[in-house]
């Protein structure tokens, strides 16, 4: 039984990773491809949502077309004991879409990462300056986005 369930989960992931069909009843098309009823599909998705496995279903927009022409990954070097506080503070900026703490390596000392978006380069840099001032971290680096080389939805099932 358990195995059967995970088989369905796998099939749902394989279908949903391509995005919802551009139709007025997108779940019907998905359910057909998974081989279950629309009701069953919605039931599982709601359950995933409740469990936190499904974060969100929603439009993935082209943010450049919405006026966010400048973007950068800003990396910060923060003392371990301040990471929680600084991370929360930087995440609070509405211009920040992603904020993570990551491992460091011998040749890469930065441990906090923020994706920052703005309408122009000037605006981006002034936002980063405000962020730096607010959290008191002066060791940071702005890695601007020069080119999008690949962007697809996450591929969970690849075989």
């Amino acid at each position: 039984m358990k195995e059967q369930q995970s088989g369905i989960e796998k099939r749902i992931l394989a279908v949903i990773q391509e995005g919802l069909p551009g139709s007025r009843t997108p779940y019907d098309g998905m359910a057909r491809r998974v081989g279950i009823s629309t009701r069953k599909l919605l039931e599982i998705l709601k359950q995933w949502k409740q469990q936190g496995k499904l974060r969100r279903i929603g439009a993935i927009v082209n943010h450049f077309k919405l006026g966010f022409s400048a973007g950068a990954m800003v990396v910060w070097k923060v003392e371990p004991q301040h990471v929680e506080e600084v991370g929360q503070m930087l995440a609070g900026f509405e211009q920040v879409s992603h904020a993570y703490e990551r491992d460091t390596t011998d040749n890469w000392p930065y441990n906090l990462y923020t994706m920052v978006h703005a309408g122009s380069c000037e605006e981006l840099l002034s936002t980063v300056k405000r962020m730096s001032k607010a959290c008191g971290i002066s060791q940071y680096k702005v890695l601007t986005t020069e080119k999008e080389l690949k962007k697809v939805g996450p591929r969970y099932i690849t075989q």
Binding site: R39, K53, L54, R56, I57, F68, R102, L143, T145, R155
Partner: protein, 165 residues
């Protein structure tokens, strides 16, 4: 793009209804006819403003591993490197960035071992030194909210790429 388009874009980016008739639910929320909503959503998709309606998962809860990786390649090798990296279905995003480490990419794979294997294959295909490659898995998530409020007026077709900091 008018005010209603912007309202629709905001609504579409929030929780897309888990309902047999999601556009009906959204139309009621926005207090517009479902035909009007659907026509506009179709247009925004045709124009490429909406890339797709997608689902975002906590990949770790499904047993997958993920990371952010980077390589440092000479400018003349960027294109080749981008092609090699982009070929892996496990690579979901890749960007050229203004740094010595100039190509950054995210990997979602079935295990950490597979991630290490992919990175090692890329490193060897590009004849890079170990110091020219980064593997930076997440330790803590503070925010993940890739929703964008439409800005006033200005629409760029793509990234302008003239930002030097």
């Amino acid at each position: 793009m008018d005010e209603l388009d912007k309202k629709i874009l905001n609504a579409l980016q929030y929780d897309f209804p888990l309902s047999e008739r999601p556009y009906q639910v959204l139309a009621e929320k926005l207090d517009i006819a479902v035909e009007e909503l659907w026509n506009r959503v179709s247009r925004l998709m045709d124009e490429g403003v909406v890339r797709r309606i997608g689902a975002s998962f906590d990949s770790g809860m499904f047993g997958f591993s993920s990371t952010l990786a980077a390589v440092s390649v000479p400018p003349e090798k960027v294109e080749t490197a981008a092609a090699i990296i982009g070929e892996y279905p496990e690579v979901t995003h890749s960007y050229q960035r203004s740094d010595e480490f100039n190509i950054w990419f995210t990997i979602i794979a079935k295990s950490e071992g597979r991630i290490e294997q992919i990175i090692e294959q890329i490193r060897s295909a590009l004849s890079l030194d170990k110091s020219q490659v980064l593997n930076l898995p997440v330790k803590r998530l503070f925010k993940l909210d890739a929703r964008f409020r439409p800005q006033g007026g200005f629409m760029a077709d793509e990234h302008r790429g003239d930002c030097r900091c």
